[in-house]
Symmetry: C2
Subunit: 259 residues, 2 copies
């Protein structure tokens, strides 16, 4: 008899976040779930790893055959530690989320949610990050759960190319218009800092900002798709090499000598 699929669930909002509970609930029909997530918020941790101090983890609870672990590390640490030292076999699927807050465009580079999905992909695990563009504690997860489940199921059935993971974003609208396969938008953040004073009168800087989309008319742009009420699904590569530029760079650097 085949094992039922093993699904590793993690996030960057922490093991107690509403999004990861919603995610675990909706993926339950697909297989054996293990939640292994940070012990508190790790938003914006990107692909950060903890190397200067040790990390540790504990089994928080076990119910309906699902184990829930809490870890002192980053989202990427969670994936590394779960796969290397906790799970008895390689997961068939990793799903990270549901993040509250969109991870479109360059957010893929800052997001701990996507950092964890990328790490799963590095391990050769078909991996998916799921985000809802709504920070509200009372956000409706309905459409996001249905789409997350559908995409997760599809990945289990069809697999993903080696070195590719998926970034699913679902807009905060009353009626999601559909799912659109997109490319990473070129939108970037503007007005990034708010200043205030600390108790000693020193100026401090709070990261804030809003996304500015320079090319707002490409229907494949993930930021645009979300603005138009569609969920966006971007396939992302671990290999970031700019292959097109390699030959030109080779010619340009030909004259460089070492001594």
């Amino acid at each position: 008899m085949m094992n039922s699929p093993l699904i590793l669930i993690t996030n960057d909002d922490g093991v107690d976040a509403r999004g990861i509970i919603e995610l675990a609930e909706c993926l339950k029909p697909l297989g054996e779930l293990v939640v292994f997530a940070p012990d508190g918020p790790r938003s914006g941790m990107s692909g950060a790893i903890t190397s200067s101090i040790p990390i540790t983890f504990s089994l928080l609870e076990e119910y309906d055959g699902m184990r829930v672990y809490s870890c002192t590390g980053t989202p990427v640490d969670c994936v590394k530690l779960a796969v290397n030292n906790v799970l008895d076999r390689k997961p068939d699927l990793l799903v990270s989320g549901i993040n509250q807050g969109g991870n479109m465009s360059v957010c893929v580079h800052y997001s701990g949610t996507l950092g964890a999905a990328a790490e799963g992909c590095i391990f050769g695990i078909p991996s998916l990050g799921v985000s809802l563009t709504d920070y509200n504690g009372k956000a409706s997860f309905g459409a996001c759960r249905r789409l997350g489940l559908s995409v997760a199921q599809l990945i289990l059935e069809e697999g993903l190319p080696k070195g590719t993971y998926l970034n699913l974003n679902v807009p905060n609208v009353s009626r999601v218009k559909g799912l659109r396969v997109c490319r990473q938008s070129g939108a970037r953040f503007v007005n990034e800092y708010m200043t205030s004073e600390d108790a000693g009168g020193e100026t401090v800087y709070w990261l804030t900002g809003s996304l500015y989309n320079e090319q707002p008319d490409d229907p494949e742009d993930d930021t645009l798709a979300l603005d138009e009420g569609y969920a966006s699904l971007v396939p992302c590569r671990i290999d970031v090499t700019d292959y097109e530029y390699m030959q030109q760079l080779r010619r340009m650097t030909e004259t460089i000598t070492i001594t």
Copy 2:
């Protein structure tokens, strides 16, 4: 009269690290330098950003017309804050490093050095990360300085494609054989955790590991180039979209409905 080029220098080993001092010294002939770097080690911080607490910075010193700032944030925070709130114009070049420790292969996803270079690229600044595969405090920076200077000069003269930054790694060998334009290796880490006990007898996990290269025979592989005594130069993209897979993913997801 044209302004002399403005060069922003940062790193992830901290403003006092030897590598950033070596870097600033070697780039001095190229223009006006501003060092804006973390106030201590931020290795493995990837593209992490600080959003839950405010950050701040201070001018540490000013000499030879060079300002040196120390910042409480991550490498990416340093780039954001310097460009948004400190510098009076956009830098003509960003160089991050010199990191002590190689950033080949998947390290591009974990490295704070490369996180900062990617952030410069997101701002539209031609950006370069420089790493030396040697953790030793007495490491020889000679070849790394010469190559870093040559590549930085080339970038100032020729520019870089929009959305592309460079990842330069220099091997720890007595005689570097040359500079090789490479692609990001598919090598990945194995044996990632060492366990020990904390003072209370609990098991703790230290991140360690070594790179295992599955395809060791491709001369364009950056890990192989370094192993063979060459410096590697990989052009890296901010846009991680897997364009080749989009069409197939579109067909696969056609049947997904929202309700």
